[in-house]
Amino acid sequence: MATRTSRMSYDGVAVAVPVTVPYQRYSTLGAHWFLGQAVAGLLEASGLAKEQIDGLCVSSFSLAPDTAVGVTQHLGLSPRWLDHVPTGGASGVMCLRRAARAVQAGDAEVVACVAADTNHVDSFRQTLGSFSDFARDATYPYGSGGPNSIFAMITANYMRSFGAKREDFGRICVDQRSNALGNPNAMFKKALSLDEYMAARPISEPIHLFDCVMPCAGAEAFLVMSEARARDMGLPHALIRGAIERHNAYADDPVMFRGGWRVDRDDLYAQAGVAPAAIDFIQTYDDYPVIAMMQFEDLGFCEKGEGPAFVRSHTMTSGGSFPNNTSGGQLSAGQAGAAGGFLGMTETIRQLSGDAGARQVPDARLGLVAGFGMVTYDRCLCTGAVILGKAEATT
């Protein structure tokens, strides 16, 4: 395990002002529109002027050919620190890590982290074939229709290796739907029963309809600044207790059955000074439920292969014994492109600020957000995780 005790802590950095630009199934608007509304939302909720945003970190697919650079001119921003993080589902964790270091180093005072994507009627199909060199050469020609088929084979291999059943993945999806019913921003408004889950039509066996996220348009955003600044401004905020990332882990595994979280988790918990049992709720990256189950294992909540038993012995609703994806996750809130990688972050800030409404986890003090992004060929390459803590009242 790659423990790096000398790594600098994230002490003194606050994450605040969670903003969600409500999702739409399809939109004729561009990614810039959603980015603009997200930044406007950050300003409105924080009371900051546009000029006070001196750092910008962007994640988006449909922004192409623009990057964060073009966004500054489009939105009339003039930051002194800029980053574009192309790690999709892991971009929330990774934007936070980069922004936090910028704040600690004094390169920026207030960093706006924004993820946004639009979804035209034909965007998803068009994205698939040009997603990566390897996708173009080695998966798209097989009719795979995006990541469905590769995750179907990963799921099939996991089920065969560890005895997981469809019902086990169903528990994850059903509990997330239950959480989504308390989230006004969630795309799905109807409860989902395990029977409905099991009866859904196959998409790419063993993956069925409710194992898949719904692509949509929308944005998620948050601000990173010093804890002192957040306190001065009177902004509800959370603190970074520890954070990790890893790319292309376990490259020699012939098929993915574990993720990069496992390489760095000891480092994560050591930095945060807590054990997995202390975590009050988790936001897994749920592009497919098998990946959520792997995160339970690889982030240390149970051993490898115990995922199926773990979900059988827990309820994963916001009021349950192991709250997971309290917003409903992407499976029930929708996947607004790169904003899917921010969903866990904004939700965790809300939970730790006591601002999660009907889905509030009781007495939530520590939340874990995991990220997972970019299937270039046969697995996702980017993994990350952050532990956020409730900011304790000091006065």
Binding site: F124, A138, P141, Y142, G145, S149, I203, S204
Partner: protein
């Protein structure tokens, strides 16, 4: 077990003929190395010259040692199926029209993990499989997981038939039935299960041996066809163009000698008129009809075969004008291939060495027997191969040509 393909019912003429939507054809330049090998029937992967790592997908550097010295090496394809999936949904029209479709993830014994189309006889994971490369309907290589031991009818697998041009239950046109080669091709197509073989014969007053034997076969129908005559080609295309699934253009004029041994251009013109312009006339009349029926069910239009010559690659001076006409035909065949590709029709170019016929009387052996050539053509149709170099001489010339075309030119000038 693969269920044997049943003879398709007669087509309902009221229904619209399904049009082709090709599978995704975009590939990076490096990945085209797999296509180049698959076009000749081989499965090759990038192998690092320095550390021996076999890698996939193709890259610009070795994933282990970063060496740029990557070479394509033939693979035996042995591997283990780790997982499979049945697609019930695809965003791509080609697959959408052919669902359900089975894919697998194979851990090759040589190292890399491959996404493959799965043959129906491969069971659930874990299972031993043999991976091969085939050209799909877009003409680009895809990898296929085959059973280690296939059954008798494995070629009838629904997925595999999309990748190949098996003559079974198809209707073929062989443009010249008067030659030994033409007759051997007709027999081979009939043996391979072709439904109808139309056999062209020019100048019907010339009685040559063998044609009667061929026409006695119940599948065979003789049709008048003179490739030097545009009207003859047009008339035949009007009659059968909408039914032909496979065109085999074997008509050729072959005379020996180069430039100095014969005065005038009459012979060279006659060679060009059949070998080059004949192909052009045929392609203009039959090409569009084939393209319109390339997605017409399990026995739709599928392939176009050109009988070229290994002399098309580099001129063989003792057969100098013939070589030139075949080089022209080869160039035109590349154009035809590019124009047929959007419809998913495969153009197969066959480059034999000297054939054991009367026009190679003075050529010493080894010479290619007409039946061997015919079998190579049927095999290419069945295996979905695009470039065929049948026989030892063709293989040797190809190797020398690939090694260094300039050296080959000098050697051929010296008469070897």
């Amino acid at each position: 077990m693969t269920m044997p393909l049943m003879r398709p019912k007669r087509k309902n003429p009221v229904l619209r003929t399904r049009q082709m939507n090709l599978p995704p054809w975009a590939r990076g330049r490096v990945a085209l190395g797999i296509t180049a090998a698959a076009a000749e029937g081989r499965f090759e992967l990038q192998t690092c010259e320095d550390c021996g790592t076999v890698q996939y997908p193709p890259r610009e550097a070795c994933r282990k040692c970063l060496s740029p010295r990557l070479h394509w090496r033939e693979q035996d394809g042995a591997g283990e199926l780790l997982g499979s999936t049945v697609l019930h949904h695809s965003n791509d029209l080609f697959f959408r029209e052919r669902l359900p479709w089975r894919l697998g993830l194979v851990h090759l014994d040589a190292g890399p993990t491959l996404m493959v189309h799965l043959h129906g006889e491969v069971g659930d994971a874990p299972a031993r499989v043999r991976v091969g490369a085939r050209l799909d309907r877009a003409g680009q290589a895809v990898l296929i997981g085959f059973p280690n031991e296939g059954s008798a009818h494995m070629a009838d697998d629904r997925m595999l038939r999309e990748m190949t041009s098996d003559p079974k239950f198809r209707k073929a046109l062989v443009t010249d039935g008067k030659t030994e080669v033409g007759q051997a091709i007709v027999r081979a197509l009939v043996k391979a299960g072709a439904d109808i073989v139309w056999v062209g014969h020019a100048e019907p007053w010339k009685k040559l041996g063998g044609l009667e034997d061929i026409s006695a076969l119940p599948q065979v129908t003789l049709v008048p066809l003179d490739l030097t005559n545009g009207r003859s080609v047009t008339e035949l295309a009007g009659e059968i163009g909408g039914k032909v699934d496979i065109v085999v253009n074997n008509a050729e004029v072959h005379r020996s000698f180069g430039i100095g041994a014969r005065r005038g251009t009459d012979v060279a013109k006659a060679e060009m008129d059949i070998n080059y312009f004949g192909l052009l006339r045929l392609a203009q009349e039959f090409g569009p009809a084939l393209k319109g029926r390339s997605a017409d069910g399990a026995t739709g239009a599928t392939a176009w075969v050109n009988l070229l010559s290994i002399y098309a690659l580099s001129n063989f001076p003792p057969h100098g004008t013939f070589s030139a006409s075949k080089a022209a035909a080869h160039s035109l065949a590349q154009c035809l291939r590019a124009e047929m590709r959007p419809a998913g029709i495969r153009v197969i170019n066959v480059f034999p060495g000297p054939i054991d016929d009367e026009w190679n009387q003075h050529t010493p052996p080894p010479k290619l027997a007409p039946a061997t050539l015919a079998n190579a053509i049927v095999k290419a149709l069945r295996d979905g191969i695009e470039d065929v170099y049948p026989g030892d001489v063709a293989q040797e010339w190809l190797e020398r040509w690939r090694d260094n075309p300039k050296i080959l030119e000098r050697e051929l000038a010296a008469g070897s």
